[in-house]
C-alpha cells in the first residue's frame, strides 16, 4: 500500500515534469526567448500567485499571456487599463434586466471573471480601479453590492506596466504591488531573437500554441509543489534575505542600512518559499535549494523594496541592491 502511494507520488512528479515541459514547449511556439520570464510565469501560476510584467511595448507581454491561456486551456480575459476605466468595468455590475415578470437586478460579470487575466498597462488605471483589483488578486473573489462572487480556480492575474510612459499613469500602491508574487522584466530581445520574432510573425501573428494542460492539472501541480520539503537552513536563508531588506531593524544587512528606504513584507518570504518549491520540482529535485532562493530573489523582491537616495546617487538599481543583499546573505549558506 505504501509502495503504491509512493508510486503515485512518483507518477505525479513525473506528470509535473511532463506538464511543465509541455507548457514550455507550447509557449515557445509563440514567444521567442524570454526563457526566464516564461519559467517564472509558469512558476507563479503553479504557485498560485500573480505576476507583474514590466517591459517596453512590443516585447511580447500580451502575446505571452495569450499563449499561456491557450496552453493552459483556461478562460482568458484581457483588461486594457485606461485612466477612464471604472472599477465596475473590471468587476462587473448589477444591471436591470426586463423579464416577463418585471424587472430584475442581474449581476453582469465583468472581464475579471476568467481564470487568466491580462491586466494591460495596469498603472494607467486610476487608484480606484486599481483598488478594485486588490480584492480579486488576493482573495480570488469579487464583492459587488454586498454580493460576493468567487473566481474559479486557478485564478491568475498577469499585469503589465509600461515603464516608459509616465505621463498619465498612476504608480501602483505598495499594497497592490505586494499582491504580485513576482515582478518580471521583459527585456528587449537579442538580435537573433528579434530575427526569429520577425521571421515567425511574418508567417502569422496569431498564437499557435496548443492546449497542454488544464486547470485541474495546474491545481494538482500546485498541491504537489506544496509537499516539497524545505531544509531549515534553506528556510532560514530565505527568511534572512527578507529580514535583511529592512534598514530599521537592529540586526540587518549593511546593504539595507545604506541603500534601502523600506524592506519587503512577509509575503515576500512566503512567495520565495512557495515559488522555490515549484522551481525545485521544475528542475527535477525533490527539495528546495539555496539556488532556488537566489534565482527567485529578484522577481520576488524587486517590487517590494524601495531604494533610497544613496542608491540613486550611486546609480544603483533595485536589482543591483538585491544583488548586494544576496552576496551578504550567501555567507549564511556556508
Amino acid at each position: 500500500m505504501e509502495n503504491q502511494t509512493m508510486k503515485q507520488t512518483d507518477n505525479r512528479v513525473e506528470a509535473f515534469s511532463r506538464a511543465v515541459a509541455a507548457i514550455k514547449e507550447q509557449i515557445r511556439k509563440d514567444v521567442v526567448g524570454q526563457d526566464e520570464v516564461v519559467d517564472n510565469v509558469i512558476t507563479a501560476i503553479i504557485a498560485g500567485g500573480n505576476v507583474l510584467l514590466e517591459g517596453v511595448p512590443g516585447v511580447g507581454k500580451t502575446r505571452l499571456v495569450r499563449s499561456l491561456s491557450k496552453t493552459l486551456r483556461l478562460p482568458f480575459s484581457r483588461i486594457q487599463f485606461t485612466p477612464d476605466l471604472m472599477p465596475s468595468d473590471v468587476t462587473g455590475t448589477n444591471v436591470i434586466e426586463k423579464t416577463g415578470e418585471g424587472m430584475n437586478l442581474v449581476f453582469q460579470k465583468g472581464p475579471i471573471f476568467a481564470n487568466l487575466i491580462l491586466a494591460d498597462e495596469i498603472n494607467r488605471a486610476t487608484p480606484k480601479t486599481q483598488a478594485a483589483m486588490l480584492e480579486v488578486m488576493q482573495e480570488h473573489k469579487v464583492t459587488v453590492a454586498k454580493q460576493t462572487y468567487p473566481m474559479s480556480e486557478p485564478f491568475f492575474v498577469l499585469a503589465t506596466e509600461n515603464p516608459i510612459e509616465q505621463d498619465g499613469t498612476y504608480p501602483l500602491p505598495e499594497a497592490q504591488m505586494d499582491r504580485f508574487m513576482l515582478k518580471l522584466l521583459m527585456g528587449f530581445p537579442t538580435e537573433e531573437e528579434l530575427s526569429d520574432i520577425v521571421t515567425m510573425t511574418q508567417k502569422t501573428l496569431d498564437e499557435t500554441a496548443e492546449a497542454a494542460v488544464d486547470g485541474e492539472t495546474i491545481l494538482s501541480m500546485r498541491a504537489l509543489a506544496q509537499t516539497v520539503p524545505v531544509a531549515s537552513g534553506v528556510l532560514a536563508y530565505a527568511v534572512a534575505l527578507v529580514s535583511n531588506t529592512h534598514p530599521e531593524l537592529k540586526k540587518t544587512s549593511e546593504t539595507a542600512k545604506k541603500y534601502l528606504k523600506y524592506g519587503a513584507s512577509p509575503r515576500a518570504a512566503q512567495a520565495l518559499i512557495t515559488c522555490a518549491k515549484v522551481r525545485a520540482l521544475m528542475e527535477g529535485r525533490y527539495n528546495v535549494s539555496y539556488k532556488d532562493i537566489d534565482a527567485l530573489a529578484l522577481p520576488v523582491l524587486r517590487h517590494r523594496i524601495k531604494i533610497n537616495y544613496n542608491a540613486i546617487n550611486e546609480k544603483l538599481t533595485v536589482d543591483d541592491v538585491i544583488g548586494l543583499l544576496l552576496a551578504e546573505n550567501r555567507k549564511l549558506a556556508k
Binding site: 520539503p229 524545505v230 531549515s232 527539495n287 535549494s289
Partner: protein, 541 residues
C-alpha cells in the same frame, strides 16, 4: 539515518579515527622530538621513560583533539556533502526529514541516496600536502631529537685547595724560633706562647683550610697569647715591688751607685725603645749617679739639659718637674744627707697614704724613676728587642746589699712582666702582619683574668722577682677597689681616670699639684691594699 548517508557517515568516522591516531602519533613525535632536541642541546638530561611519558600524553591529547574535531555530526556532514559535491541541499534535507513519512519526503530521500551513491572521489590536494608537510616536520623533529648528542654541562674546575702562603708560614716559624730562643721570657709564658704558636703552625699546615679559617686560627692564637699578659699591671708591679723592697730592706742600706746602676740597667734592659728620646733618656739616667753622689751645679744643669732635650712633651714635662724636685732636694740635703736618710731606712710605708715620704730626695728619686719607668712601660713594643733585654739582664751583677738586691729584684721582677707585655704585643703584631689580619687580644675591659706567667718568686720582692711561675697576681680585672666609689671596678677604668687626671694637671699647670699627687698615691695604695688583702702568697707585705 538513511543507509547511504550512514555509509558515508561511517566512512567519515573511520577517517576521524585514523586521522586522530595519525595526529596523536605525529603530535607526540613532534613534541617529544622538540623536547629531545632542546634538552640535549641545553645539556638537560632526562630519562627515556620521561620522554615516553611525554610522547604518550601528547599523543593522547592530539588524538582526542583531532578525533573530536573531525568526528562528523550528522547535519554538519550533510551540509558539508551538499557544499562540497554541489548536491543542492539534497543531503541536509534528507537528514532533516529523515523521519518524515510524507511521499515527497520519501522520494526526496531516495533521490538524495541515489546522488550519494554516485559521489565522485575527491581528494583535497591542498589538505594532503599540508598533512604530508606536518608529518614530515614531526618525523624530522623526532629524528633530529634522537640523532643529536646529549650535551653535558662542563664540570666546574675544582678550586685549588686553599693553603697558607709560604711567606706567612716562614714568618710564623721565625717567630716561634724567636720565642723559643728568648731567654728573657719566663718559662711558663714561653711554654704557653710556643705551644700556642706551634698549634697554630700545625693548624695552618693541615687540610680543609680557608682564608676565613686561617684568620680565625691566627686571631684565636692572639687571644691565647694575650691571656698571659698583665701588661697593664707592669708598672703597678714595679711600684709594688719597689715599695716592698724598701719596706723589706729598710734595715740594710745599699750603695747608691748600685741603685743608679740598677736604674741604668733597667733602662737599658728595656731594649730598643722607639721613642726618639731614648738616647736622651739614657743620658739622663747616666747623669743620675753623679747627681746622687755629688750634686754639682754642672750635673744639675746636665740633668736639666737632658730633660729639655727630650722631644716627648709629656715625658719632658714630667721629668722637668721631678728633676727640679730632685735637684732641689739634692741641693738642700746634699748627697751624704740623702744617703743617710736612705740608709736610715725610710720606710716606704711612710709614704703610703701620703703625698710624700717627707724626704724630698727620696720622693724625687722615686717620682723620677717612677714616671720614666711608667712611661717606658707603655711604649710601643713593636721594636722591642728580646735579645737586648737578655743581654742587659745577663750583664747585671750582684754587688750585694739590699738596695742592690732590691733594685735587681725589682728590675728582674719588673722586666718579665714588662717583657711579657711587650712580648705579647710583639707576637700579636707579628702575627697580624704575617697573616694580614687584625691584631686582637684581651683587654682589661673584657673582664677576663690575665694569668701572669711571670708572676715572680713568692719569696721575692713583692712577688715580682725572678722567673715566671704563671702565678696569677690579680684575680680579675674587675677586682680593683676604687676608693672613691668604694666599689670594685675594672682596672683600666681606674687607671685611666688617674692617668688622665694626672696628665691633664701636669700639662695644664707648671707643677704637679698636691692633690694630684695624693690622687696618684691613693690609687697606688688602693692596689697595694688589695694585694695585701687578696693574695696571701704575695710577700709584698
Amino acid at each position: 539515518m538513511q543507509q547511504e548517508f550512514l555509509r558515508i557517515y561511517t566512512k567519515y568516522m573511520r577517517r576521524a579515527l585514523i586521522a586522530g591516531g595519525a595526529a596523536g602519533v605525529l603530535g607526540g613525535a613532534a613534541v617529544t622530538g622538540a623536547l629531545l632536541l632542546a634538552f640535549k642541546l641545553c645539556a638537560v638530561e632526562w630519562g627515556w621513560y620521561l620522554y615516553l611519558a611525554v610522547f604518550l600524553a601528547v599523543a593522547a591529547l592530539c588524538f582526542l583533539a583531532a578525533y573530536l574535531i573531525l568526528l562528523p555530526r550528522e547535519f554538519a556532514l550533510a551540509r558539508k556533502l551538499d557544499r562540497v559535491y554541489s548536491l543542492d541541499e539534497r543531503v541536509q534535507t534528507m537528514a532533516e526529514f529523515s523521519a518524515d513519512g510524507g511521499e515527497m519526503a520519501v522520494l526526496q530521500r531516495e533521490d538524495a541516496a541515489d546522488t550519494l551513491k554516485n559521489l565522485p572521489r575527491r581528494r583535497s590536494a591542498g589538505k594532503a600536502a599540508l598533512a604530508s608537510a606536518a608529518a614530515a616536520l614531526a618525523v624530522a623533529l623526532f629524528a633530529a631529537g634522537i640523532a643529536v648528542e646529549q650535551k653535558r654541562t662542563a664540570e666546574p674546575e675544582p678550586e685549588p685547595p686553599y693553603t697558607v702562603s709560604a711567606a706567612a708560614l716562614e714568618a710564623l716559624t721565625a717567630l716561634i724560633e724567636n720565642v723559643e730562643g728568648d731567654g728573657a721570657l719566663p718559662d711558663g709564658v714561653k711554654e704557653l706562647y710556643t705551644a700556642a704558636l706551634n698549634a697554630l703552625y700545625s693548624g695552618l699546615t693541615g687540610d680543609d683550610l680557608s682564608e676565613e679559617l686561617t684568620a680565625a686560627y691566627v686571631q684565636s692564637t692572639m687571644y691565647t697569647i694575650s691571656s698571659s699578659t698583665i701588661g697593664w699591671h707592669t708598672y703597678d708591679e714595679f711600684a709594688y715591688s719597689l715599695s716592698s723592697a724598701y719596706v723589706n730592706n729598710t734595715d740594710e742600706g745599699a750603695p747608691l751607685e748600685a741603685l743608679a746602676s740598677a736604674l741604668r740597667s733597667c733602662a737599658a734592659a728595656l731594649g730598643d725603645i722607639t721613642i726618639s728620646s731614648y738616647g736622651a733618656l739614657t743620658a739622663l739616667y747616666d747623669s743620675l749617679p753623679s747627681i746622687l753622689y755629688g750634686y754639682t751645679e754642672t750635673a744639675g744643669e746636665a740633668l736639666a739639659s737632658a730633660v729639655t732635650a727630650l722631644d716627648d712633651s709629656t715625658l719632658k714635662t714630667t721629668l722637668t718637674l721631678y728633676s727640679s724636685a730632685l735637684q732641689n732636694g739634692l741641693k738642700a740635703d746634699g748627697t751624704a744627707a740623702c744617703c743617710d736618710l736612705l740608709c736610715e731606712g725610710l720606710s716606704f710605708g711612710d709614704r703610703r697614704g701620703e703625698a710624700t715620704s717627707g724626704n724630698a730626695l727620696y720622693d724625687a728619686v722615686y717620682d723620677f724613676y717612677y714616671s720614666i719607668s711608667r712611661y717606658l712601660v707603655f711604649y710601643d713594643a713593636g721594636t722591642y728587642s728580646a735579645s737586648k733585654v737578655t743581654e742587659s739582664l745577663a750583664g747585671a751583677t750582684s754587688a750585694g746589699g739590699d738596695i742592690y738586691t732590691l733594685t735587681v729584684n725589682v728590675t728582674e721582677a719588673m722586666q718579665p712582666q714588662a717583657y711579657v707585655y711587650c712580648a705579647d704585643n710583639y707576637i700579636r703584631n707579628a702575627l697580624a702582619k704575617a697573616f694580614g689580619v687584625e691584631a686582637v687580644g684581651y683587654t682589661p675591659e673584657d673582664g677576663s683574668s690575665l694569668s701572669a706567667s711571670a708572676g715572680g718568686d713568692e719569696s721575692g720582692a713583692g712577688g715580682a722577682g725572678g722567673g715566671g711561675s704563671g702565678k696569677e697576681l690579680y684575680p680579675t680585672q674587675a677586682d680593683i677597689y676604687n676608693p672613691e666609689t668604694g666599689e670594685y671596678t675594672f682596672y683600666i677604668e681606674m687607671y685611666n681616670d688617674y692617668y688622665t687626671a694626672y696628665l691633664q694637671d701636669l700639662l695644664a699647670g707648671d707643677e704637679v699639684s698636691d692633690e694630684t699627687k695624693a690622687y696618684i698615691w691613693a690609687y697606688l695604695n688602693s692596689i697595694l691594699a688589695k694585694r695585701d688583702e687578696g693574695d696571701s702568697s704575695d710577700t709584698g707585705g
